[in-house]
Subunit: 409 residues, 2 copies
């Protein structure tokens, strides 16, 4: 059961002029399942992407990087579930290239104008025959108002499709933003690697789309964790179709650039948080905010130590205010000169620890009251600077173990 | 159920001349439970210790460091379970000092000659009145052949006491080594922080005992992980009572020094591995060996990435040869210039991956056969150097979640 998250209403997802999406059942791993999605992009769109830092990155990730670097422009994407095409060596690369060629032929474009994405089990050969056989149905299905189906088409162990839209006025013109995501952020639960796609019709200098994608990922997908397992396939792509009537954005720091960034960031955060809310076995959505650090990086480091601690996560699952576990995680986060006597801890509005020790005014029942909620904010004040950062995570439950122990059977 | 580990036979644990141990029930957290242990050390012993790197280290850890630095000699140790005295600020320090003073008065020694240890729940005040009230019974119980009771006396969520002994000839003389441990190594499961104590009667330059303790910890306790949560209280202490007849060891690199180191290392490894075998919810004991690295540190880094991956650990629990998860962990271990095409993976004798891809000769049933065993070796060959390192871990099961979700209730 996802935490405070429901399936998107198709009508609430706005088509983005210049983008059409088609979905098909190709039987890649299981029959009768939407497992093949194509995204068709009109000529003239600018596309940027950020990809997993995992050195064992999947074949499609390698090919995406190549194709984006060639800078021929991107006209289509092909996304399969059921197979990650990772840990597959040279053969995996050849199969990904074959997929791009198959779609390019049908669209009469160059294979380098196709971006490929795969998600699913690692170290199994990609069934390219089934993908190729499924492409005509996916292309026949292509239409602008298909975001809800696409959100379904990229699901693996997700229990709910994830899609969000927004409209924003930029330079007097209406600009549309839509996005979908699946899996678990940077952080892979269950081989169900994370994918995120966003499109906007905003007019923007094509050179800004790649830095835009990075800034959006940093503020959203790079701030969530389920289990600390970074996927081989994580990919996040931003499409700017340039179809809106806004004056071209020439800097992300301009007022218009900031307006677009802000609006896209809101959608990206919702997509990223949706992944955590639907995290494997999640019963709670936890915001970990660390303040008073010397810089953002150390705040993030402490926040991730808390968010990755199995002991902290099982305490949230149990609604047990065993809050010393949070202090312990702060302590081992790796900040060498951290002074424990400077640290305060809050759980929502409850002041739990003062200067590294239990707050004399703290009462167990106050901690208990907060721990029972489904949305909880942990706030740590390091007391050594002005920086702050936030990550989002979920608890660790029996279902996480069940889902991952049973995944392939 | 611990993995292939049974309780020690008291008769198989050798007394170490110069060390007496007493255990009592002090009712620190629960009644009718051995929760207070004293270790009495004859004058002239050399003592070294290594302690948690957690910046939120507990009050007793801070006091141990102080007392060892003062170098007055150590004559006694006092160990309580049920309360970690961590996250307790200045008040916690005062309570630890009060405990040392109470024991020192009874023994007519200086408080600085006492080392204090606490393990249990974090952020609760240490009940010093109960500890003080329990000391007479612990002291009355003190005798040389009490190692088995001591192993019980320091247990928290351990399901089985952990103690090992060895005898070794050094310079023609018989030398005895005995040790006990509890909890989960560097890596804290369930607040049940790790403690390890070893004693030998070997004669050795007192200045060598601290480096000896560090070398032993590095080869044993610093190579195990249950859940990646580094404790606030981890402590490992080595006592050399100097009572044996061996020629004084003046260098750890000498033949005699190496003989002692080797024999103590064997006991330390058994103690450390026992912690993993009794890891919370453990059903399997996993050895992760990484070879072909440029240096030991990067081998260890990769080994820990595998050993900490919740996905790898749940796959072991399920006996599911979902081995791409291991490759993924290798990939995100943080070795920036790692080339996936150089990597081979073995599961016991089964060659799973060749040059970063699935071994064409690999059969699922071979992987399945190994995964069903209770002791499994994962071997990764990085193919970029001559270094190798090993860590030991266990699987992640439903019981891990149950134990840690229920710990305080």
């Amino acid at each position: 059961m996802p935490v405070n998250l429901s399936a998107p209403e198709p009508a609430a997802l706005f088509p983005v002029p210049g983008v059409r999406i088609g979905v098909a059942e190709a039987g890649i791993r299981k029959a009768n399942r939407k497992d093949l999605t194509v995204v068709l992009v009109d000529e003239g769109a600018a596309v940027g992407g950020v990809f997993t830092q995992n050195r064992f990155c999947a074949a499609p990730v390698q090919v995406c990087r190549e194709h984006l670097q060639k800078n021929f422009g991107i006209r289509a994407m092909v996304i399969n579930t059921g197979n990650a095409n990772a840990g597959t060596g040279e053969d995996g690369l050849a199969r990904t290239r074959a997929t791009c060629i198959a779609l390019a032929r049908k669209l009469e474009i160059a294979p380098e104008e196709v971006l490929p994405f795969s998600t699913g089990v690692i170290m199994e050969p990609l069934p390219i025959d089934r993908i190729e056989a499924g492409l005509p149905a996916a292309l026949a299905d292509a239409r602008p108002d298909n975001w809800a189906r696409a959100a379904e088409g990229i699901m693996t162990t997700d229990t709910i499709p994830k899609a969000f839209s927004a409209k924003v006025k930029i330079g007097g013109a209406e600009v549309t933003i839509s996005g979908i995501s699946k899996g678990a952020g940077m952080i892979r639960p269950n081989m169900a690697t994370m994918l995120g796609f966003m499109a906007t019709d905003a007019r923007i200098d094509p050179a800004l789309v790649q830095p835009l994608a990075r800034q959006l990922a940093d503020a959203s997908f790079n701030r969530v964790t389920i289990d600390g397992d970074t996927s081989t396939n994580d990919s996040f792509v931003v499409i700017a179709t340039q179809k809106a009537a806004n004056p071209v954005i020439t800097s992300l720091e301009s007022a218009d650039g900031q307006a677009l960034l802000q609006a896209m960031q809101d959608v990206a955060r919702q997509l990223a948080q949706a992944i955590v809310r639907d995290g494997e076995g999640a019963t709670k959505f936890i915001t970990v905010r660390v303040e008073g650090g010397r810089n953002d990086a150390e705040c993030r480091q402490v926040a991730y130590a808390i968010a990755h601690s199995p002991l902290v996560k099982t305490a949230f699952f149990a609604s047990d205010p065993n809050l010393g576990r949070i202090l312990a995680a702060v302590g081992y986060a790796g900040i060498k000169d951290l002074d424990q006597t400077g640290i305060d801890l809050y759980l929502d509005d409850v002041h739990v620890a003062v200067k590294g020790g239990r707050n004399p005014a703290y009462k167990e029942e106050d901690g208990q009251r907060v721990m029972k909620k489904s949305e909880i904010t942990v706030r740590v004040v390091l007391g050594r600077g002005e920086a702050a950062d936030t990550v989002w995570t979920c608890d660790l439950s029996h279902d996480y173990v069940s889902i991952n122990a049973d995944y392939r059977s």
